[in-house]
């Protein structure tokens, strides 16, 4: 089946099998930041943005991305460096394997209209689907808090 997808800002037309997962297609297209951790839609490692919304690419067929805009961390390098710097300063990246999916979800979260007023609990609930086995999540929260504070400071 032929699909046309705007992937990281570039229009791509491709012929794909009807049962090909978006996750596999993205890796075929060189978006190697996208990782798989579970095959059962439980870990959040394969999170990408489809039309701006965080989506598990292992739970979506590539054909369903037809005429849609798909963004991976490869397409958000500036944002990754900005938020990633806060991760790095906390030592919260650790093995790094879950980072791209987690960061994609954080970058979606930052667009939520009232995110700057959120409690820790709200942040944790938003990101609950992103598993991490290294950090105990504490460094993530510290990084997010500093990142949001810095962004808010920048808006003044």
């Amino acid at each position: 089946m032929t699909i046309t997808v705007t992937l990281n800002g570039k229009r791509i037309t491709d012929d794909v099998a009807p049962d090909l997962l978006l996750y596999d297609w993205l890796r075929q297209k060189g978006c190697l930041s996208v990782k798989c951790g579970c095959e059962t839609t439980n870990c959040g490692l394969c999170t990408v943005h489809v039309d701006g919304k965080p989506t598990l690419s292992c739970a979506m067929l590539a054909v369903r991305a037809d005429k849609k805009t798909v963004t991976t961390l490869e397409g958000l390098q500036e944002e990754a460096i900005e938020f990633g710097g806060f991760m790095a300063d906390e030592g919260a990246e650790q093995c790094g394997f879950c980072n791209p999916g987690f960061i994609m979800n954080v970058l979606a979260m930052k667009e939520e209209p009232d995110v700057y007023t959120w409690t820790d609990r709200q942040i944790k609930e938003y990101l609950e689907g992103n598993l991490c086995r290294c950090t105990g999540y504490a460094g993530h929260l510290r990084a997010i808090r500093r990142y949001l504070a810095a962004r808010q400071e920048g808006m003044k």
Binding site: G37, E93, G136, A138, G139
Partner: protein
């Protein structure tokens, strides 16, 4: 200190957070064959026939290998220093299948679709055999898991008896335990059960292989033990070690899982036989059902004290389930007692016995804590129970009995405890959690109960007189350094902390040292990143290497300047004499060393074996809220105080601690391991096997109370493993304080608490 102790970013941090392709599967060459395994549906069976003719006709299938098609060799997958204590009981493929999921055939093809199709078309005839699934009945069971003749034990002192399903057995006694127990007025004895929990690292097992331009086998592997991978592949394929090269890229977590060479032999044998590059990626299910989980153990602890609350004797018997294969079985069990019992220094007598047995359940391996987790869980629960029986609060009782600096530790190989801030750690967590106000429990207005619990922990730092680590440092012509390491940074930040140690010794900036690792062709030998060895053992090697290079540079500079070596001052940038009349920069020395002037490249490499394994210590205190209606346990806060000696990098050490705590919380409250009556693992995905999410772990706070370890680099000990040991006993103790219910089995699930309260109220 200028560099050690600073919270530097990890050297690889920005590459990781920007999603760069740095992991095994990101790096594979084009044309890599897809390798998958056809696995046994039976817990115990013989392969009678593998019909593969139809499957071989699937377009794109390159080979299908059964047990008769691969080299007949026996070896262990345990990543341990040679001669390994783990018996040689593993084959690439075997006619006998010893657990559900044991590999029957290796299928390699051009595409995943072709391989998946072929897997369905292979017809296997099995002769089903009776399995032994209950490890508590496995010893001397009529069903023998490993009857084969080519089974090999390299180290006879493990007392293995394969015909009895006995992997190892030992008796240790110091003092007269029975006589001491007779004098005790208070005794507690219970058996505690820990399941075969899974490391659940985010990147599953994976590796790819290819032949290089010399026709040698190259294996790129997500491993903690590159040099042991080389040995295992050399054993499996009967290749010279010099004909194998192992490369470790970035790896997505290990936690001990990747201290076993779980999957590398499969793509290796495909490349070996076909000459084609080949890759295997375990699914999450395969990683859970046929990985290398923690050893299931039943730990029976008996403790006794007098009315004065001073411990007189401690004894432990551990029965450990090695499962189908004995990777790490003879060694993990030892830590349950040798570390668990050594938390307390007052007893006059210690006894520790153990048996480890085979059964037809999944093979086992190394998981962070490596047996100490199981033993300390048992001891720390029993200590709290004994304290209550003897009329002491659990903090006072621990303070009266805990191991102290300067003591000989009889159950810990007779080692002297040279660095120990456990007392300060305990004081600190009590203060942070508000122990005095909160102990033992408080009923809230909404009916929920808040309670606190505490536990102590220790581990080791490297395997003394066994493991070896080397580092190589080279001076570049611009006055910077290259550091080559063989230890595996698995997200632990060791590439960075090791460079911090070297930078401190060379008086340079962290950025002046580039780190390279790991490639067995280029890196100096290192037994690998396990047994809490990297910061301590490789760290000490980094220090010694830096000091050796310093000496060589000063010698070379003295020659250049025409002054006596003893008169050279070096501040990290410039070599000079006291007058300053003779001086040269490090850059000038770098140029000099690599040009035609001296022909003397400046490099150094020192290897290190530690005579001792200094324990890091910690205390953990948790505050929970239990809902008596549902039994749900919510963790409000967890306070941890760690004595890892000098903290090399506080960010990295804190991250290690927070991660270990949450893994410990997972095994205590959520991570369940259940088998069907046919021996099939039920909890084989993240759907059924729940690891903690960020909503499950409460607020963590980590502080450091450092002692100074003279054997470590700048006083450092290890941190990687000790941090997983306190949650199980601290939570179990807190749940008791909240509910009056004592649990002796993990995980403690909400329904057990709710039902326990119901039954208690009925009584």
């Amino acid at each position: 200190m200028k560099v050690v102790g600073k919270a530097y970013r990890k050297k690889d941090a920005m590459q990781l957070v920007t999603g760069k392709p740095v992991y095994t599967d990101d790096l594979k060459p084009n044309g890599c064959l897809v390798v998958k395994l056809l696995r046994s549906p039976h817990a115990h069976a013989l392969v009678k026939e593998i019909k593969k003719d139809i499957a071989l006709k699937v377009p794109g299938i390159v080979c299908i290998l059964g047990w008769e098609d691969v080299p007949r060799t026996r070896f262990t997958l345990a990543g341990q220093t040679y001669p390994e204590l783990s018996p040689y009981d593993h084959a690439i493929l075997d006619q006998r299948l010893r657990c559900v999921g044991d590999p029957v055939a290796i299928v390699a093809g051009e595409t995943e679709e072709a391989v998946d199709r072929a897997m369905k078309l292979i017809k296997v005839t099995y002769e089903e055999l009776e399995p032994v699934l209950d490890y508590t009945k496995a010893l001397d069971h009529p069903v023998v898991v490993h009857p084969e003749d080519d089974y090999q034990v390299l180290v006879p002192s493990i007392n293995c008896d394969q015909k009895r399903n006995l992997i190892t057995t030992e008796h240790f006694e110091h003092g007269d335990v029975e006589a001491q127990f007779k004098e005790c007025t208070h005794i507690v004895e219970h058996t505690y059960h820990v399941r075969a929990v899974s490391q659940a690292m985010m990147e599953t097992f994976r590796a790819y292989c290819y032949h290089d331009l010399y026709g040698r086998l190259v294996c790129v592997s997500s491993t903690q033990v590159p040099f042991h991978v080389r040995r295992v592949l050399s054993n499996a394929l009967k290749l010279k070690k010099s004909d194998i090269r192992v490369i470790k890229p970035r790896i997505g977590g290990g936690f001990g899982a990747k201290q076993s060479v779980v999957c590398e032999m499969f793509p290796a044998v495909v490349t070996h036989l076909t000459g084609r590059p080949a890759e295997i990626i375990y699914t999450r299910e395969e990683s859970m059902t046929n990985g290398s989980p923690r050893h299931e153990m039943s730990v029976t602890v008996k403790l006794g004290c007098g009315d004065d609350g001073i411990l007189k004797a401690m004894s432990m018997y551990t029965l450990s389930n090695g499962g189908a294969y004995a990777e790490h079985s003879p060694t993990t069990v030892g830590l349950s007692g040798h570390k668990g019992l050594s938390l307390y220094g007052t007893p006059k007598a210690y006894r520790f016995d153990y048996d480890v047995v085979y059964s037809n359940t999944m093979g086992t391996g190394a998981y962070r804590g490596y047996g100490a987790t199981q033993g300390e869980y048992a001891v720390e629960c029993a200590i709290s129970e004994l304290a209550e029986q003897a009329g002491f609060d659990p903090i006072t009782f621990r303070k009266m009995n805990m191991v102290r600096e300067g003591q000989i530790m009889p159950a810990y190989y007779g080692e002297l405890c040279q660095s120990n801030a456990l007392d300060r750690c305990l004081d600190r967590v009590c203060e942070l959690i508000g122990w005095d106000e909160k102990y033992p429990a408080k009923r809230m207005e909404n009916g929920k109960i808040r309670a606190v619990g505490v536990a102590l922990a220790m581990q080791g730092s490297s395997i003394s007189q066994v493991d070896e680590a080397a580092v190589e440092l080279r001076l570049n012509e611009d006055g910077n350094y290259h550091m080559l390491v063989g230890s595996a940074d698995m997200g632990t930040g060791s590439d960075t902390t090791l460079a911090q140690v070297a930078a401190e010794a060379l008086e340079c900036e962290l950025d002046d040292i580039a780190v390279f690792g790991v490639d067995t062709d280029a890196s100096p030998y290192d037994s690998g990143s396990y047994a809490s060895s990297t910061a301590y053992l490789t760290g000490r090697a980094a220090y010694e290497t830096a000091m050796e290079l310093r000496k060589k540079m000063i010698h070379a500079a003295a020659g250049c300047l025409g002054i006596d070596e003893a008169d050279v001052l070096f501040d990290g940038k410039t070599f000079s004499d006291e007058s300053g009349l003779h001086s040269m920069t490090l850059r000038e020395l770098g140029v000099h060393s690599l040009g035609g002037f001296s022909g003397r490249m400046l490099s150094a490499s020192v290897s290190r074996v530690s005579p001792v394994s200094p324990p890091p210590f910690m205390a953990g205190a948790v505050e929970i809220e239990v809902d008596p209606e549902t039994g749900k346990v919510e963790i409000l806060q967890y306070k941890a105080a760690v004595d890892c000696g000098t903290v090399l990098n506080p960010n990295i050490a804190r991250g290690q601690t927070e991660g270990g705590l949450v893994q410990g919380i997972g095994m205590t409250l959520f991570e369940d391991v259940q088998f069907t009556d046919k021996g099939k693992l039920r909890n084989n995905s993240f759907m059924q096997y729940k690891i903690p999410t960020r909503l499950d772990c409460g607020d963590l706070e980590v502080v450091f109370e450092s002692s100074y370890e003279p054997e470590g680099p700048y006083g450092a000990k290890s941190i990687g493993e000790v941090v997983i040991n306190t949650p199980a006993p601290a939570l179990t103790n807190a749940i008791y304080n909240a509910t009056g219910l004592r649990f002796y089995d993990l995980p403690i699930k909400a329904e057990q608490i709710a039902l326990g309260l119901l039954h208690r109220d009925e009584r």
